[in-house]
């Protein structure tokens, strides 16, 4: 499997109960998985554990044959090759759109870097906004910058934390269709978190229902049948 997570356990400091109680999932390359659950179900925590922003009590995370974390090692987030779009986007306010996108491309040489920035700007349709600062953009544009920035280093896995929570409803519908097209176009394996079933239906190939730190059930969506029928189902 491209992404393999086994028996993940986690508790926040000082908490008696574990927030995540044995979470496991396998994801194939190019699949879009949605973690759906109420607030407090631990869905954002799972993302942070995969990203390496929190350290699990136990469990294994493997992304693209690379062991990010098991009982004897913990890879820091910067070495994992995982891209993340934050709920509040976390665009660097002191950098322009172009500089934000360029930020994660330090491993490329100058020529590749420039080419990649152009490619990403074109992909999210923001070429003419390249010299703007984040505060000069609308919410939807900011989200596209955040997405371009996360995709630019070609992460093995992309994770999105509540990608639509900061957008108004009318925008939400259009953007999630665009987003799905974009993710499929780039073939990016994606995990995203939401509390809105409709978002999950529209964007994901598979929906994972979470409750009390565990998987309640998993469902393949309509998208899955049209886009990628060979993905195995573990319901």
């Amino acid at each position: 499997m491209f992404v393999q997570i086994n028996d993940l356990h986690f508790s926040y400091k000082g908490a008696h109960e574990e927030t995540i109680k044995g979470f496991s999932i396998s994801i194939t390359k190019g699949e879009i998985v949605s973690l759906l659950g109420d607030s407090g179900s631990g869905k954002s925590t799972i993302l942070r554990l995969i990203a390496g922003l929190e350290m699990p009590n136990q469990g294994v995370v493997v992304v693209n044959n690379c062991v990010c974390c098991d009982d004897c090692q913990f890879m820091p987030p910067e070495d994992r090759g995982v891209g993340m779009v934050f709920q509040d986007y976390a665009l660097f306010p002191h950098m322009t759109v172009e500089k934000n996108i360029r930020f994660g491309l330090h491993k490329l040489n100058r020529k590749e870097r420039n080419a990649r920035v152009e490619e990403m700007l074109a992909l999210v349709n923001l070429t003419e906004f390249r010299h703007r600062y984040p505060y000069e953009l609308s919410g939807g544009q900011q989200q596209r910058v955040a997405l371009a920035r996360a995709l630019a280093p070609k992460p093995a896995l992309l994770i999105l934390d509540e990608p639509f929570s900061n957008l108004d409803t009318s925008l939400q519908h259009r953007i999630r269709d665009d987003l799905r097209r974009l993710l499929k176009q780039t073939g990016t394996t994606t995990i995203f978190v939401t509390h809105d079933e409709e978002d999950a239906e529209a964007l994901a190939d598979r929906i994972v229902y979470l409750g009390e730190g565990k998987i309640k059930k998993q469902v393949m969506t309509e998208n899955n049948k049209t886009f990628n029928p060979q993905i195995p189902c573990f319901v």
């Binding site: 922003l53 004897c72 976390a90 660097f92 930020f103 994660g104 920035r149 996360a150 280093p153």
Partner: protein, 545 residues
């Protein structure tokens, strides 16, 4: 915690923070250890005959200053925030200016104004033929000390309370108005209770300053802990007893801080509503308008305009004799030593604040507390502890040099290292607090975003964290720099031979009863601090927008 969790905690940030903290607590340990050392005859004498007086005087000054600064600071904050009166916008920041005048400078200035040869008595004698009873004009008493502290320390309470009222209270005050409460009523039933935490925070700063002061009480001849520590140390040459006094003083401070925690109790609310809605000031009618204006002007006049004018006059009087080559040397010394110490403090503060932010645990909570402890240790205690420490260190270096048969050795206590070390201990808290709150405002997501894009914590620190909290670093720099420039006791006792700053030179003139000559150095301190205070408030105001 499993073993890689331990490994994750033990990184460069942690090691550097631990080293910094170790340096900070070392002098405190020296003082506290001495508390348990066997007593000598001197100490018994001090304990029996002198200590009760030190305690009485110190407590009286603290209580009286605490009450008066609270009344003045809170009332000013309330008037400036809630009412509109002539020149309100000017007073809003002008009322902070007395902070630019260190209390010891205020003390000798007022003494100079009020004494027999001062401007008031001379005018009365020469113009009106009135000779007054000297006892009415004697400011060198314990009441005079309280007067001076109140004038020049109330801005601590004023600024904290005003910021709180301005940002947080509008909805509550507006609600109380809608519910039909009068202003007076609102002040006591709403404003005081909700701003209690802010006021107590301000008062504890004032009390720390009072305990730290050496200049005012020394000049006025009031026996408090500070003067007692130094006179035991230099007069009786009894370091052990001086350290014991310092230890007793530290216990007093710890008691105050604990009391503050207890008083606050569960009421640690900060009303950190993210929607900051400033209160719209309400115009005052009739005589109220002039009464408020008169009160505010009076405080500003006594606490700033009068002493500042007097200092200016004295400066012109003595300019030719005082303004020499050596004076430039003083300015250069002051700026150089303050700048060096400030930069070191900011480095420490940034490292520790970043560590406690990135790796929150019980350990980092302790580190964060300890970092801010230094500010509550009075200068007298730090000075004697640091000297004791450096004497020991120099001894060890000498031993080492002998063992290695070196002809030359390095002596720390004759260098600026000792003074700068003491500054770092005392003022790290100031830098740390503003950098920590800068980090808090920015949050962690930018740092996390940077790490998700492949940069480690050190690279992220320089590329993202520092640019994001530039404003906080800038205001930390200004606050620390001002404090060091004004500092007296540490500089006075730890400066190397043949080295003086503006503050110590001014105090030296004053001690030699050359009050007029002290004016130039004093006014440079006041102008530089005033300017920096102005700049920092512009920066802070802009950030708040």
């Amino acid at each position: 915690m499993n073993w890689h969790a331990v490994k994750r905690q033990l990184n460069g940030w942690a090691i550097l923070s631990f080293l910094a903290i170790l340096l900070i607590v070392l002098p405190g340990i020296v003082v506290l250890v001495e508390l348990f050392a066997p007593v000598n005859d001197n100490w018994q004498h001090i304990q029996e005959y002198l200590l009760p007086r030190y305690v009485r005087n110190t407590l009286f000054i603290m209580v009286a200053t605490g009450v008066l600064t609270t009344v003045i600071g809170t009332s000013l904050a309330w008037f400036v925030t809630v009412y509109d009166f002539p020149f309100r916008r000017f007073f809003k920041w002008a009322l902070i200016l007395p902070l630019a005048i260190p209390p010891y400078i205020g003390a000798y200035t007022y003494h100079g104004i009020l004494n027999y040869t001062g401007v008031i008595q001379t005018t009365l004698r020469n113009q009106f033929g009135i000779t007054v009873d000297q006892s009415y004009f004697n400011i060198m008493s314990i009441q005079g000390t309280v007067f001076i502290f109140t004038l020049f320390l109330y801005p601590y309470i004023y600024t904290i309370t005003r910021a709180f009222l301005h940002n947080q209270s509008s909805s509550m005050i507006e609600n109380a108005r809608i519910l039909g409460r009068g202003s007076w009523d609102i002040f006591f039933t709403v404003v005081i209770p909700i701003s209690r935490v802010a006021i107590i925070g301000g008062v504890s700063l004032v009390l720390m300053e009072v305990l730290n002061d050496y200049g005012v009480v020394k000049y006025f001849g009031i026996q408090t802990f500070s003067t007692a520590i130094f006179s035991t140390w230099f007069g009786m040459k009894d370091t052990s007893s001086a350290l014991k006094l310092a230890g007793t003083l530290m216990i007093l401070v710890i008691a105050i801080l604990t009391m503050e925690r207890l008083v606050r109790g569960r009421k640690q609310f900060s009303y950190a509503s993210t929607k900051v809605k400033p209160l719209k000031p309400r115009p005052l009618q009739g005589w109220h308008r002039y009464a408020v204006f008169a009160y505010v002007s009076l405080v500003f006049a006594i606490a700033f305009v009068i002493p500042f004018t007097q200092l200016t006059a004295w400066t012109f009087l003595t300019f030719d004799t005082v303004f020499t080559e050596e004076f430039w040397q003083l300015v250069w010394n002051t700026v150089r030593v303050a700048f060096t110490a400030t930069v070191i403090i900011l480095l420490f503060a940034l490292i520790i604040a970043n560590y406690t932010r990135l790796f929150p645990s019980n350990m980092t909570r302790v580190i964060s507390k300890v970092t801010t402890l230094g500010y509550s240790i009075p200068g007298a205690a730090i000075a004697i502890a640091v000297i004791t420490l450096f004497l020991w260190l120099d001894d060890k270096v000498l031993d080492l040099a002998r063992a290695l048969d070196l002809s030359q050795t390095f002596v720390f206590r004759t260098t600026l290292i000792m003074l700068i070390f003491a500054y770092v201990i005392r003022f790290l808290a100031i830098g740390y607090n503003s950098i920590e709150s800068g980090f808090e405002k920015v949050g962690k997501s930018f740092t996390e975003a940077s790490r998700m894009l492949g940069w480690n914590t050190v690279q992220t620190f320089f590329r993202v964290d520092i640019p994001m909290i530039k404003g906080a670093i800038m205001s930390a720099f200004i606050l620390v720099f001002i404090d060091i420039m004004k500092e007296l006791p540490l500089t006075l006792f730890l400066q190397p031979f043949n080295f003086s700053t503006l503050a110590t030179q001014a105090f030296k003139y004053v001690s030699d009863e050359k009050i007029h000559e002290a004016a130039l150095a004093s006014i440079v301190i006041v102008l530089m601090s005033g300017l920096l205070i102005f700049v920092s408030h512009k920066v802070l105001d802009k950030e708040a927008d």
